[in-house]
């Protein structure tokens, strides 16, 4: 009986040790709860735009084409940064413009995937252009007109100017690059993937293996749920906010109707890269589903607070300026 007790004690002892070792077992490529690890601060800044410029006739482009385009981009930036001669006063009726180039961070290279440079983020349709319906003008026309010619009401200005979400489709989905602040922080916890979009400090909280919320709830950036397919995070977003139909930035202009379905795929392809793919199924705005992909590259850069609404002198200036002009 004594030796039986001893044997039991020894078994318990080894169980303890193995339990201890098991709890210490952490795979570097997985999170602590076993999901593929996508965490970190990432950027999608690049010179590649959503749609293919007309001077490129294929998705994959050569190094020579890239060098030529980068040289053009540098010349453009140089001109943008030095709009006046030394001592020259701007001319009346001139281009109001923005500010010096140092404030911007559009990226300094083209997207490179599978070793090849890309002329567009769009991969389908194969011409690299959005398959817009002609009826787009019914939505885009009034939005463009109001945005660039009128300042009657704050709600008529772009969402970036209103400081509600980032410019264009920076916050997505799909998450597209803009002129600056192209940073995203991914943090994972059991049952969730959180993507913090730098503009406007938006935390996209993706519920894993969950149902969508009711259709009458249409939050900014849509309602996202996700699941894992092997090593790939798949995120489906529906119920887009009705005021987010027209997303215009300098580098892309897209429509996203409330009923659209956006499917994003995130796959860690290396220590420093996530392959980000998406498809947009929006029959009201587009003739067919369109797709795109780009890498998210890791960066050592920190994300800083983008408290936009709190410092939005510009909105008051825009509206007050328009009222002042009306009085003249």
């Amino acid at each position: 009986m004594v030796s039986g007790v001893q044997n039991s004690l020894l078994i318990i002892f080894f169980l303890c040790i193995s339990a201890f070792i098991y709890s210490e077992d952490y795979q570097p490529a997985k999170t602590w709860f076993g999901d593929p690890d996508l965490q970190g601060v990432w950027t999608n800044a690049s010179l590649t735009t959503l749609e293919r410029p007309d001077y490129f006739d294929s998705l994959e482009i050569s190094e020579e084409q890239v060098i030529a385009a980068k040289n053009n981009s540098e010349r453009f930036n140089e001109a943008l940064d030095n709009p006046y001669e030394t001592g020259e006063t701007p001319e009346s009726g001139g281009d109001v413009g923005g500010y010096n180039v140092a404030w911007m961070d559009p990226g300094n290279d083209f997207i490179k995937l599978n070793g090849k440079y890309r002329s567009s983020i769009i991969t389908y349709p194969e011409n690299g252009k959005l398959p817009r319906r002609l009826t787009r003008w019914a939505i885009e026309g009034p939005s463009i007109y109001r945005m660039f010619t009128r300042a009657d009401h704050p709600e008529e200005r772009s969402l970036g100017e209103r400081c509600i979400v980032g410019f264009g489709s920076s916050g997505g989905p799909p998450m597209l690059n803009v002129l600056y602040n192209n940073h995203y922080q991914i943090v994972q916890s059991p049952g969730y993937v959180m993507i913090m979009v730098e503009m406007n400090h938006d935390a996209r909280i993706i519920r894993l293996n969950s149902d969508h919320n009711p259709d009458n709830m249409k939050p900014w950036l849509g309602d996202s749920v996700g699941w894992w397919e092997g090593e790939t995070l798949v995120v489906k977003t529906i119920n887009h906010h009705p005021q987010q139909k027209f997303r215009a930035a300098i580098r892309h202009q897209i429509l996203m109707m409330e009923e659209a379905e956006v499917t994003e795929r995130f796959t860690r392809t290396g220590t420093n890269e996530i392959l980000y793919q998406f498809e947009v199924n929006d029959k009201k705005a587009y003739r067919e589903t369109w797709k795109g992909e780009m890498p998210l590259r890791s960066t050592n850069s920190k994300m800083y607070e983008y408290a936009c609404h709190e410092g939005n002198y510009a909105m008051a200036n825009i509206l007050a300026g328009a009222r002042a002009e009306e009085k003249q």
């Binding site: 009346s92 180039v101 961070d105 300026g321």
Partner: protein, 145 residues
């Protein structure tokens, strides 16, 4: 025929928006293209805020002092390039060229965009870590973990 219509549609939309590429979103709505400015003054303070940083500049002309608020861009890019709240000290003399806001009451301050902001010797006040801007898109392996 349909393809031609789509192509024309695309060209029209690109043209409309291209007109504003260098004008950059809100600026044409906020500032008066017929009111150019070229001012030299001392920095009073810098508000390192979003969506636009603001440089407060005191300009003295014929004994009269006027305060200007000069609009810049998002400070986040510059902060990532090493700038901080001590970088531009009050009293620094700068030259601002741009356009005054459409509202010209100057109550309490005049407002303008800093289309080009330099030191009196012509060097840019707002610089990237190398030359004019140092875009970070992760392409430089030195930036990575």
């Amino acid at each position: 025929m349909i393809n031609l219509i789509y192509k024309i549609s695309a060209i029209i939309s690109f043209s409309i928006l291209s007109l504003n590429i260098s004008s950059h979103h809100a600026f044409t709505a906020e500032f008066d293209a017929n009111a150019p400015i070229n001012i030299t003054g001392k920095v009073l303070k810098v508000e390192w805020i979003n969506p636009h940083a603001w440089v407060h500049v005191e300009v003295e002309e014929k004994g009269k002092k006027t305060t200007w608020m000069v609009e810049g861009g998002t400070p986040n890019t510059l902060i990532r390039n090493g700038i901080n709240k001590e970088s531009i000290k009050p009293g620094t003399v700068i030259v601002v060229r741009g356009y005054q806001s459409k509202g010209k009451l100057c109550l309490p301050r005049c407002i303008a965009n800093g289309r080009d902001v330099t030191f009196p010797d012509g060097r840019k006040v707002f610089m990237g870590s190398s030359g004019t801007g140092a875009p970070r898109d992760g392409a430089d392996p030195r930036e990575r973990r």
